[in-house]
């Protein structure tokens, strides 16, 4: 079933065209990769999907609905979650709070019952707490429950950000370079983790990555961008052998050359 459809979208900032005629159809359950050199426009694509930018030309559809002009908080409600390339945690909040905030958008209790701590609200709050602890346990972060998120080691912070995104109960998860700054061991764990949560939470994953091992290892389909346009699309093996891709990616690991 088609989940996400970007229909030849273009993003212009004044005279600069950051993304040109980007098109993709993602079906439920897929794990798609988006790669390309720095500045190719990959994060801009994510920003368009999540409503931070509005595409200059054409539309984006999610589950058949037009989400082109929908603001970020509504996008989350609709079922799309994301992580950020330069990581955006709430550093002054506790680790547990960072996760619990992810559940806020599904809160049924209204403001008054929350302030007055009515029974309906306290029950929901307890559920949120328990669910958040469950998520923390999945990534071995439960012992950091009351630590400030900003104090966590880098790798843990990345995991926390993914957990926070999962708390919003998304159908589509956008991961922007989740393996950045990780060593090979951590990267392997991350790969396993992504596949694990994909099964467990029935997610569709759209992944931006630089690390070739990650992308080639787990993605069934890969898109390659350069200078704002898609230059190749296909299965990992096809991409590896594509001369356009090799040309754009001068720094490609010789294993894949």
């Amino acid at each position: 079933m088609e989940l996400l459809n970007m229909d030849n979208v273009t993003m212009k900032f004044g005279g600069l065209t950051a993304v040109n005629n980007f098109r993709i159809k993602i079906n439920t359950g897929e794990l798609i990769g988006l790669i390309g050199p720095n500045g190719a426009g990959k994060t801009t694509v994510f920003n368009m999907i999540t409503g931070i930018y509005k595409p200059t030309v054409n539309k984006i559809y999610f589950q058949g609905q037009d989400i082109t002009e929908v603001k970020p908080d509504k996008i989350a409600k609709v079922g799309i979650a994301r992580t950020f390339q330069n990581m955006r945690l709430m550093n002054n909040l506790k680790v547990i709070d960072n996760v619990m905030i992810g559940f806020h958008l599904h809160l049924k209790s209204n403001l008054l019952s929350a302030i007055l701590k009515l029974p309906g609200y306290t029950k929901e709050e307890e559920e949120i707490y328990n669910n958040s602890m469950e998520l923390l346990k999945k990534v071995d972060l439960e012992k950091y429950e009351n630590e400030k998120a900003g104090g966590l080691p880098y790798g843990q912070q990345r995991k926390l950000e993914i957990i926070r995104a999962l708390a919003t109960k998304p159908k589509l998860l956008l991961l922007d370079e989740p393996a950045a700054g990780m060593n090979p061991q951590e990267t392997r764990e991350l790969m396993d983790f992504i596949q694990q949560i994909q099964d467990e939470f029935e997610l569709t994953v759209f992944l931006i990555e630089h690390d070739m091992k990650v992308v080639m290892g787990i993605c069934k389909r890969i898109l390659v961008m350069d200078y704002g346009v898609i230059i190749a699309e296909g299965k990992p093996k096809e991409i590896q052998d594509n001369p356009e891709v090799i040309k754009a990616y001068l720094g490609v690991d010789s294993d894949y050359a």
């Binding site: 900032f13 994060t43 920003n47 931070i52 950020f84």
Partner: protein, 297 residues
């Protein structure tokens, strides 16, 4: 309204505008470099006439020398406030520096009340500044002409400094990216001090011209004009020096004409200016000449 009255008002608007422009430049320069609204700038403006008063009346310096001394002292005070109250907070969240600026503003104001008392003092006006030039039916004070000429003069000098000297280049570099400027061996501290000196000196000139026009000075005289000059800077485009000048004139003109056309609403003249501020912030926050800088996501 008769043509003469209209022209008279326009002349007044120009004059007031030039004073706002002189003060606005200080705000915009500091904001451009430090991203800080220097709330204390209005108090800097206020101190200059007081230095002039004391120099002339107490130390019996010749008037022109008193003016010079007043400008220098004011510029030094400005530089000092940066050293003491802003430099330590350069790496702190911006709000801390803002609160510090408000603190300095109140500190200086109340210090002036303590030292000089709240009783208005009269600044001596030399003969030249009391003359009235007559153009047909329109009377123009010499201070009016003086302020327009002086501000135009100093703006030109300033633009020369900014665009044609190394110091100016350093200022522009810092306002774009302070971290990289440090890496490029630009003496950031020195450049920022120079910025404050120039801005404060211009405010001092504005303050003295203001006192020549309204010779009664009080310690609270800097608050409202300071705020309005800041609004002028925002209207013209905060961070942009030509914008500050433009904004100053626009605001001065707007204020005078508002009272001229709606004399029954004259009690609201300040509210009108604040309204302009809110509208500009909502609809064109980068001001008339400003540029849009987006946050990278």
């Amino acid at each position: 309204m008769s043509l003469n009255l209209l022209l008279q008002n326009i002349a007044n608007g120009f004059s007031l505008g030039s004073l706002y422009a002189l003060i606005a430049i200080g705000y915009t320069m500091v904001y451009g470099i430090l991203r800080l609204i220097n709330f204390a700038h209005g108090e800097i403006f206020m101190l200059a006439p007081y230095f002039l008063y004391f120099g002339f009346l107490m130390f019996h310096l010749p008037w022109w020398l008193s003016v010079l001394v007043a400008i220098i002292l004011t510029a030094l005070t400005g530089m000092l406030t940066e050293r003491v109250a802003y430099r330590p907070l350069r790496d702190a969240p911006r709000i801390s520096a803002l609160i510090s600026a408000i603190g300095v503003s109140f500190f200086l104001q109340n210090l002036a009340i303590v030292l000089f008392s709240g009783v208005p003092k009269s600044v001596h006006r030399p003969e030249f500044f009391r003359t009235l030039f007559q153009f047909g039916e329109i009377r123009i004070q010499s201070t009016l002409i003086a302020s327009v000429i002086i501000s135009a003069l100093f703006l030109s000098i300033l633009l020369y400094i900014i665009y044609k000297t190394k110091t100016g280049l350093a200022m522009r570099a810092i306002s774009t990216d302070i971290e990289t400027s440090r890496l490029m061996a630009i003496d950031v501290n020195k450049t920022i001090s120079i910025t404050f000196i120039i801005g404060s000196a211009l405010a001092a000139i504005g303050g003295i011209l203001w006192a020549l026009r309204f010779p009664q000075i009080v310690p609270t005289m800097g608050l409202i004009p300071g705020l309005k000059a800041f609004i002028a800077a925002v209207v013209g485009g905060i961070g942009n020096i030509s914008g500050a000048m433009l904004g100053g004139f626009i605001l001065g003109m707007a204020e005078i004409l508002f009272v001229a056309f709606f004399p029954e609403l004259s009690g609201y003249r300040d509210a009108f200016i604040f309204l302009i501020l809110i509208l500009i912030l909502l609809f064109k926050p980068d001001g008339i000449l400003g540029k849009n800088v987006q946050e990278k996501v």
